[in-house]
Subunit: 395 residues, 2 copies
């Protein structure tokens, strides 16, 4: 008897997917170079060449059992050590390999982190605007997702609203910095205030509320800055990472959960991740991918194109009169639409071959997202289309 | 608040893991060559060299986006086509790429298959002796595992007992042929009888009971035979495969679910698998691994060593008076212990540096498993230890 819940999910069309399908179809008509597709968050720069070299070297030098054999159920020891050493060096927390659990990207990491620190029926808080997949991640673990309304001035945290949503049902808070879709980096001030509230409420409720920090964009930060590392501000933090964006390897599914060493339960949580995997059919990331990543742990692809694209778009959007917060990182920008109904706004943009995503599914209606992980030349050509769109439709 | 269910799982020691740890420790004392470790089902032959060549060729020839970019959520199209074509060619069912969902090995495949055709609270039947991980796979999906007592004569199916365990709560039946731990291949006769009963009961209950067929050992079959393909005998079959054993790639986590094209819901089920993944944090297998597998789809490693080892062990066990069914495939053999308590039997064997696994956790007390995926030379040397063990302890 096929499962009705999953079957019903099939009938719910994803807006982003529909837009992307439109872009593909339109591309076949007028050439893909003429479609300004800002819909998908797919890294556009090549993988770091050192990663490919490491892969070939492993194939040539390692025994088949060591290269392709089972990883231990808690992950490849070299990868765990490389991650722990790198995090310790960069952020000053005393990570050991026993604090690291390798996962198939950030999605796998969040799936484990959520299950480790909640039980079905518990509540998890997210902040709008949020990555729409948080919904299936959270409900898929049998949990309830509670949304805190956005701070549309700066896209930091709306703390008044946050405190009102907190209760003893809330076992975890899920953040994303730098943020998809807003592009905003949480400031030290934001993280300190968040930590203060979580500590107070944990004391009040008599248990530790966990902070699950989704950080796939950690390395894409602009103006030479570094993204403040959430775990430094709150001991009960599970950092969820993916190499998808930093090394441009989204298809290779490699990431990790890092549990803060200051949490007395951190090693237990990592051991529990191995048990969680048994029930979900998650497995360690591919052995060769773990081993190759370990060899290039502190490298990234050339990520500078994203900052170049951001500056081009931000300047143009501002000059056209958009209300928009300048992104501190990622490859997203999140302006307010020029009419209340952002779905209608994005539909009109299609006439100009601009593929923009309305932010209703991000929990922030009236805004839209542009994913500028595309060629800089195309961004430049799109500016004319953007001007024409705004001038013809809204002036 | 850390999850007590997963925390409790940590305190349950795995017998196989304890034995394997003992073997490692003993190996440090007397040299690993002198420890006859039959505990772990780790493929011992190298990966097919064509797989490694395909990996290097992909790295040298494909664009980074095509090689390392996101797979579509239902999997890499080349891999899906290669699998569908291969299954169609070999087993004559009309598979298309839309019937194939790539997974991280058979564990990932079973996790998806179970969730697709049940809802939490339903019952799933397994046949003893069974792979102990079926327990966390099934309970992890919120399901109840019902065990059918073994047919210890031939390790086919005990149909009388099976029929008595069937009820309208049973939504799926999970089989494993060739079987871990018995090494037995289900005969055509067994599969026909199973199909007949499932059809009758499906009609009686008014819904289709699904057959989930776990087939990672499909290619390791002895005496030049071919393993009868369960899906040929019953339309409502989800075949779960892994390349771990056939290509000796257990660490690379690559497999699939193949839904029988004759099932009108087969394509819906595959589409649903994409939705199931969203909730569990499973993701498509690594992109490069899918693409490399597609290129070597019908190849295997040199698997002949397993048959050589099986014959050596089987002959010796029979000559020593063991009651044992000759394996038709896999790299396992499953004799009856020489005393009722197989845990005590396996403990005594440790004195002779023989690491055997008592079958209590396989649902078949009184028996033990030997995983002979080890060097043939070591198997030969172990025969003396086996003789000594039996003669000193039981004659």
């Amino acid at each position: 008897m096929i499962n009705e819940t999953y079957k019903d999910m099939l009938s719910k069309k994803s807006v982003i997917r529909e837009l992307s399908e439109f872009a593909t179809k339109r591309g076949e008509e007028i050439g893909y170079d003429n479609v300004f597709d800002y819909s998908l968050g797919n890294p556009s720069v090549p993988a770091a060449k050192e990663f490919n070299e490491a892969m070939k070297e492993l194939i040539d030098s390692k025994s088949s059992m060591a290269l392709h054999g089972y990883s231990p159920s808690l992950g490849n020891p070299e990868f765990k050590k490389a991650v722990a050493d790198s995090l310790k060096r960069r952020f000053g927390l005393d990570y050991k390999p026993t604090h690291i659990f390798p996962t198939s990207g950030a999605a796998g990491a969040i799936a484990h982190a959520l299950r480790a620190v909640t039980k079905p029926g518990d509540e998890v808080i997210v902040f709008a605007p949020f990555f729409p997949e948080y919904n299936p991640y959270i409900t898929g673990a049998g949990l309830k997702m509670t949304v805190v309304e956005p701070d549309t001035k700066a896209f930091q945290i709306n703390f008044d609203k946050f405190v009102r949503k907190l209760s003893s049902n809330v076992k975890a808070v899920l953040i994303n910095t730098p943020s998809n879709p807003s592009g905003v980096v949480y400031s030290e001030e934001t993280l300190k205030e968040l930590s203060k509230i979580l500590k107070e409420k944990s004391k009040e409720y008599g248990f530790n509320i966990y902070l699950i920090s989704d950080e796939p964009y950690r390395e894409i930060v602009f103006d030479g800055k570094v993204c403040p590392y959430p775990s430094k501000y709150y001991d009960y933090t599970l950092s969820c990472y993916s190499f998808s964006k930093s090394l441009s390897l989204p298809g290779e599914r490699i990431g990790y959960v890092a549990a803060n060493p200051a949490d007395p339960d951190s090693e237990t949580i990592i051991n529990m991740c191995g048990q969680i995997s048994r029930g979900t059919g998650h497995n360690c990331p591919a052995s060769i991918i773990q081993q190759a990543c370990a060899k290039v742990i502190d490298l990234t692809s050339d990520l500078s194109v994203y900052e170049t694209n951001m500056n081009l778009l931000y300047d143009e959007l501002v000059s056209l009169g958009f209300e928009v917060v300048r992104p501190g990182g990622t490859f997203y920008i999140f302006p307010k639409a020029l009419e209340e109904d952002s779905v209608s706004f994005c539909k009109k943009a299609l006439k100009y071959d601009l593929i923009l995503v309305p932010a209703d599914s991000f929990g922030c209606p009236g805004y839209f997202r542009m994913a500028y992980c595309i060629d800089t030349e195309k961004v430049k050509r799109s500016l004319k289309a953007l001007r024409e769109f705004v001038n013809k439709e809204y002036k």
